[in-house]
């Protein structure tokens, strides 16, 4: 048991030594992997943050029902009955036309102007809080409410948030595509590095075979090499993202202060960081495995 562990530690040391026999080349490889990984992962972080921001801004969706000017108190009461019995509605709030006018005056400071009006131009309104939050049900509900008698206009307040949500969905797919492509690139980088490794270690591989090395023994240092290179690349990507967020933090804080918002950038969570590292280790390992499977048979002793 101890001996097996020692053996693996030894192999890992060998892999590390080989990686940094030419430090610049080793470092550049890691940097390339780091940049390739940091692009999709960094975009993922920005997406997550945008999503938080949207959630913060939109809150729970509401539908405003503006009633026709001719509605009577009876109509209003009847409508209230209908809305309260509706299964898709969580709560309602009535804003009478007089209350609306007062609110408008207070909010805008146009009390004098409003006092000068002959007629109240504002209609009665209900603010409806639906139970559903997905865009499609909200849209259906809005259409249904629009058809109710006495309703002039049903307006979905957070429509813009849903449009943004749809755009974010597109962006998420773009990130996924980018991540897949760059992962392939990463596998290719490792594949090629290991190919060169095998070529330079050709003598050693042949001699090891002649004195009784199994394929697993010969394969092991290359697999470790790939996995370690992936790990270091993942760490580099993490550092690049952390640095990027740090650079964005100050200007963003100023900006959100101007909008009197408390929004701040969230870094990669612990579980996301772990996923990033594990994924890059896996990609490195996979690239090494493919390369070893492809190239090791070409070094059979003659």
């Amino acid at each position: 048991m101890m001996s097996a562990l020692n053996q693996h530690l030894g192999v890992m040391k060998t892999a590390l030594r080989r990686m940094f026999t030419s430090p610049l080349a080793g470092f550049l490889n890691i940097l390339v992997i780091g940049i390739a990984l940091s692009l999709p992962a960094g975009m993922y972080v920005l997406l997550q943050n945008t999503q938080n921001l949207v959630a913060q801004l939109s809150g729970s969706p509401q539908i405003s029902l503006f009633l026709t000017m001719e509605t009577t108190a009876d109509d209003v009461a009847q409508l209230r009955n209908q809305l309260e019995r509706h299964a898709g509605i969580r709560g309602i709030e009535f804003i009478s036309r007089t209350a609306a006018l007062e609110q408008l005056g207070q909010n805008t400071g146009l009390e004098d102007v409003i006092a000068g009006l002959e007629d109240n131009p504002l209609p009665d309104a209900y603010v409806v809080s639906p139970t559903a939050i997905d865009a499609r049900s909200l849209d259906e509900l809005r259409n249904e409410l629009q058809r109710l008698p006495g309703v002039e206009l049903a307006q979905l307040d957070s429509a813009w948030a849903y449009k943004l949500e749809a755009i974010l969905e597109l962006a998420r797919i773009a990130v996924l595509v980018l991540a897949s492509l760059l992962s392939l690139g990463l596998i290719a980088i490792t594949f090629n590095t290991i190919r060169l490794q095998i070529l330079t270690q050709r003598d050693e591989i042949q001699i090891a075979r002649l004195i009784g090395a199994t394929d697993a023994f010969i394969r092991r240092p290359f697999m470790y090499f790939g996995a370690l290179q992936g790990l270091f690349g993942g760490i580099a990507a993490w550092l690049i993202i952390a640095l990027g967020l740090q650079l964005l933090r100050l200007p963003l804080a100023t900006l959100s202060q101007l909008y009197s918002s408390t929004f701040s950038l969230q870094p990669l969570s612990f579980s996301d960081s772990l996923s990033l590292l594990l994924f890059s280790v896996y990609l490195g390992w996979l690239g090494a495995w493919l390369s070893v499977a492809r190239h090791l048979s070409q070094t059979e002793p003659r």
């Binding site: 001996s3 097996a4 053996q7 002649l210 004195i211 009784g212 199994t214």
Partner: protein, 233 residues
Amino acid sequence: MIAFNQVSKRYPGGYEALKHVSFELAKGEMAFLSGHSGAGKSTLLKLIAAIERPTSGSVLVNNQNVSVLKKGALPYLRRNLGLIFQDHKLLFDRTVFDNVLLPLQICGFDHRESGKRVRAALDKVGLLNREKSNPIALSGGEQQRLCIARAIVNRPSILLADEPTGNLDAEYAQEIMAIFNSFHQVGVTLLISTHDADMLRNSHVRVIALKHGEIQHPASHPEPVHSAGTGPA
């Protein structure tokens, strides 16, 4: 220990390196394999280590037919053999010590135990004081002895040496032969290929003579070989 039965080896391209070769080597026996370059000596040794496969016939090592061994079983066959190469096949990216350590690493030996074994093997070939050197700094004879140390560190029951003295002058060659004799005395089976006529004349060891891929009889008396014994194989 080693038995060839009607073994032929034809290389791709039609060259026939061995033709119907049959012989047996008993456990603990030591024999020379003689013949000109191209007589098939290297091929014969390669067949024993399953580096090449015979076209026909069977090669038995320890009663195991190595000519039909699966690829995955080859490493375990080779761990029982000590291979000594004319071109040494040393690794120049590591010390003398680490070169000898390699077979033990391959077998997964315990760290402390393998250190002892490496030093014992180096001691046996007289290289103990060079363990930290790079093999590139060793003379030809020393490199050959290092190759021997690597072959014996596993304590194999069979040693195969391909022209071990081929590039060495007489004095070094005698040193190497003395080492082989000492292994023979402790019961190791040895098969040593050589085209060195002097070496064959000066010993009383069994000789298996190959000529154009065929065994020359009687095998017990060495045929005079025309080669001066100094050219490469």
